[in-house]
Chain length 216, copies 2
């Protein structure tokens, strides 16, 4: 799976601003970055009267817009999808995922602490906290502290921890909407066995990418 | 794969309006409908200044918004994805997909013919034309003609042709981004073989839904 890093912090602390800078910096370094914004209160993306809005209002459970260089999807879900399922389903080909929000999830996280909002990190006891970006000069002995505008320093942290070593794993697997982590041997075995089974089928020569869904 | 039906016609003929009515009618009958709008000239969905817009502008190749009951995805693609790939990737759990556009693709299609726009169907020689919705009372001997507002009649046509018989197929398969159609025996064999291979792994008991991606 692609590594996921979360930018967290109080409302109004500047999460989007920091995310923008870090994404721009990582993109400049040649990485492909996907982002997820966690909107606990829901969001509006579609404008009234647009065709996609009309499709949705008519009752479509999923609306897809497809253009030459861009796709948009608006989709109803029964309950919130966890980030790893969003990544698996929607973000292919990215080197790293940066989320805005998900402070309670178990991903490595960087907290934005802005003095007008709080004086201490809200995630200071979270073992997944890997960095703090702040306009306060407090000391943090456990995790590195960066200036709130130091996107280069934070990009370095992410690059060193998550982007240097390439994973050799070939398979991403979800069973009953849960991500299954496979040991390298099983991963290799399963990938080769499925490729072997498919190899005699028409259209399946030299498979570079196989995507498969089985429902019961 | 889920059946795909296209609503096609000249620009301004009323494709969106007919699609809305047909989607509403099928939804009322208890079907889950997904829609795809083909926007050959590109589209704008995101509003300047919104967080998703800021993520995208910073360089993210894919931006996902996740809320309690809804997901939105905005994604760059190198080239246009064909509808079956959009369905495979984004539209799970739908009974039918209705597209707006794709007049040149090989899906069953219903053409909207509005007298202020054209006097003849542009797809009249297309063997995939299954119906015409029009405000002109011409005769069509090969395909049924409906009044331009007869969403019930058109929903009946779609229901009878595509929604009555349930497919027994268990596997959807894409190899190198091309959909592979499996014969029922191969479909069953492959589904059972993969389930058997996974069955001894932790977290893979009683798999109702397996999604798997292999990259080379």
């Amino acid at each position: 799976m692609v590594p996921i890093v979360s930018i967290v912090g109080k409302s109004g602390s500047g999460k989007t601003t920091l995310l923008e800078k870090v994404v721009a910096e990582l993109t400049k370094r040649g990485y492909k970055v996907g982002t997820i914004k966690h909107d606990v209160h829901g969001f509006e993306i579609d404008c009234e009267g647009k065709d996609s809005w009309r499709h949705k209002r008519a009752g479509a459970t999923t609306v897809v817009l497809s253009g030459p260089g861009k796709i948009a999807v608006i989709k109803d879900v029964d309950k919130e999808w966890p980030p790893e399922m969003l990544c698996f389903s929607f973000i292919n080909g990215a080197d790293i995922i940066i989320t805005e929000g998900y402070k309670k999830a178990g991903y490595p996280k960087i907290e934005v602490v802005r003095k007008t909002k709080s004086l201490k990190p809200i995630c200071r006891k979270d073992k997944n906290l890997i960095g703090i970006a702040s306009d306060i000069k407090f000391k943090s002995k456990d995790v590195p502290r960066f200036d709130i505008n130091d996107s280069k320093g934070i990009a370095n942290l992410i690059e060193n921890r998550f982007l240097r070593k390439k994973t050799a794993n070939k398979i991403d697997l979800m069973v009953n909407k849960e991500q299954i982590t496979l040991k390298p041997f099983i991963n290799e075995l399963l990938a080769e066995a499925i490729k072997a089974m498919l190899s005699s089928l028409k259209g399946c020569k030299n498979p570079k990418q196989i995507e498969l869904k089985i429902r019961n």
